[in-house]
Point group: none
DNA sequence: CATGAATGAGCCTTCATTCAT
DNA sequence: AATGAATGAAGGCTCATTCAT
């Protein structure tokens, strides 16, 4: 997952750093740039040049996952069934957060460090807005649910799963159950 | 909210420390025991004697709120309408978390520092279990919702509210809206 | 030269730190707080608590010398001969800077870190102002020399001595010679 | 001010680097070779090939000014009035230091990095020696003033001006005033 | 019991310099 | 020659915790 155009050696370091960061994130260890440099076998300053802050590194680690979500959002927009499209989209977002520890903090952050992260989050929000509008037009979601609620609610579900705990496998189940419950509530019109 | 039996001067220090911590928590400042000692006008060691770790202090700050929730749970158990009882109970939990910054981390923590915190959380869970059972028996909630899901889901809602952002006042509204949506989903039988 | 009211152990550390700093200053080594902590055999934070910045420490090292100058200024104000009083005063300032490496940067600094340093420098400037006024009233200095010129000129002489180089002993001679030359120039009225 | 014989592109880089360094010096920013490379749009190693150390670069920046002073010294040697010749010479040295921030540290340094700098400083000293000898022979300066004192004293005046502070324009005035005072003192025979 | 000085591990960050391309 | 990525020593600072008074 080498993103930028880099010299071969620089690219190798970039990869190592991101790989080490990915491992640490998966272990739940906070990202400390000095520590990462040591583990990646590169100088501290190398890490600092590539990633000015731990947040930038975390966002980079989360990027592939965010990109996949954006791609999924695009596909969902081609689905003829607006209800199913929205539900699939939201399922992906929740499951991604539960599967990839790097995603949740990036999704929940009010502001981003990397412009690319902001672009991806914006794309995701746009897709959500459109999918919600279609579902609402089809009378399939309650009218008091705004586009700006989608991401927070998915973050909330992911957090609930975290609090509930269990093995990674359990968590997927829990996530599906919680999302199903929420979706049920989103369907029934509040004004019915 | 002086909890333990203490000499009068010790009790005064205890109160000061907790009051200072409460202010810091409300400002979103992380609790640093040295800093708290300075602000409270007591020695560091005094803070340490009363609160072995920052977590213990945070739990102490959250205690009144947790106690109020437990009390509310007891009252809810006297409500004749099982659906209303459960909903009131859950509303309180969400609103408390949104209102009191100290509560969310304590509620979400898998383990506690103070035995008293554990007792309160256990009481709360018991009340939830009972209220959920009654509501389920009355056919008012879907069958795949377990007692162990209640607290996580409320933490999730609170987290969603945080991610959504807004002024403290907005947050209460958002919390009500999100909870209403979820409750709607909890009502529909999953097997319907 | 233990300045503040401190506990006995704290005072010992304070003394050690200042003594180490004095040695380093005399060697021309820049003051690095970590390094000083190591040499003084105390923890880093101890140095930081006593002296928030290297400048604060340098000013502390220079303080005894500044105090002596202030005292000398007071004595000079009791001298009946205004010309001799001013010359003695200026001689002391130059010789002190040449003798004590810590003094020159503190004297030349536009702003101070420690209030006490500012007080001392202010006292010194007041004495200079008064001595200059008396000498001028006695017709012994040219009229275009302002009180605000005294300290800069003494710093300049000290700097000239530094640039000239030589052993510590040579420097005293050079300083006297340079000052004598300047004083000669100060005497001759510019409007004569 | 392209000094060495270089290929055209190398010469362009040399010029850019010196120009950037000049700007930084004028702003009072310390010369950091990495930073300079970035600003000049060249690689770090290019800077290093041209200038082994920051001091070498600083001396290069100061060179034109030093050369002008040397040229002025040559002209002063043709002046028929030995007193005026010396005074003009010294005025130039002081005003150059006050005007050009790069000069003062180079003039005050005990040793140089570039041979060319040493040559220039030597030339300047020779001119000073000769001018002083002529003035002394004409009975226009006190006998205890050595050639080796001229540069230090001019550095001292420049330093005094810096300590006095004020706008760049003020500084020129202050410099003239301080130098005039010193010259007055230099004139009077010490044995008078 | 209370105090607050002392500790030092540990993290962050910069920058002069080297070296692969 | 030029480039700029990489290096890592070096220094700065904070904060949880201990311990002498």
């Amino acid at each position: 997952m080498t993103t930028p155009q880099l010299r071969k050696d620089a690219a190798r370091n970039w990869d190592r750093i991101v790989a080490v960061a990915r491992d640490l994130v998966d272990q739940g260890t906070p990202l400390q740039l000095n520590d990462i440099a040591r583990r990646a076998g590169v100088g501290v300053a190398t890490v600092y040049r590539h990633f000015a802050t731990p947040e930038a590194l975390l966002e980079t680690v989360a990027t592939p996952c965010l990109e996949a979500l954006v791609a999924h959002g695009q596909r969902a927009l081609t689905d003829a069934d607006p209800g199913r499209a929205l539900e699939d989209f939201l399922s992906q977002i929740v499951e991604a957060q539960v599967t990839d520890v790097a995603l949740a903090p990036v999704a929940a952050a009010a502001s981003d460090t990397l412009p690319h992260t902001t672009e991806l989050k914006t794309s995701l929000a746009s897709a959500g807005t459109e999918l919600l509008a279609r579902a609402r037009d089809a009378g399939m979601v309650r009218s008091d649910l705004a586009a700006a609620d989608l991401v927070p609610l998915m973050c909330g579900i992911a957090h609930a799963v975290h609090v509930h705990g269990g093995t990674p496998h359990d968590r997927i189940d829990t996530a599906r159950r919680y999302l199903a419950t929420l979706l049920e509530g989103m369907r029934k019109p509040s004004d019915a």
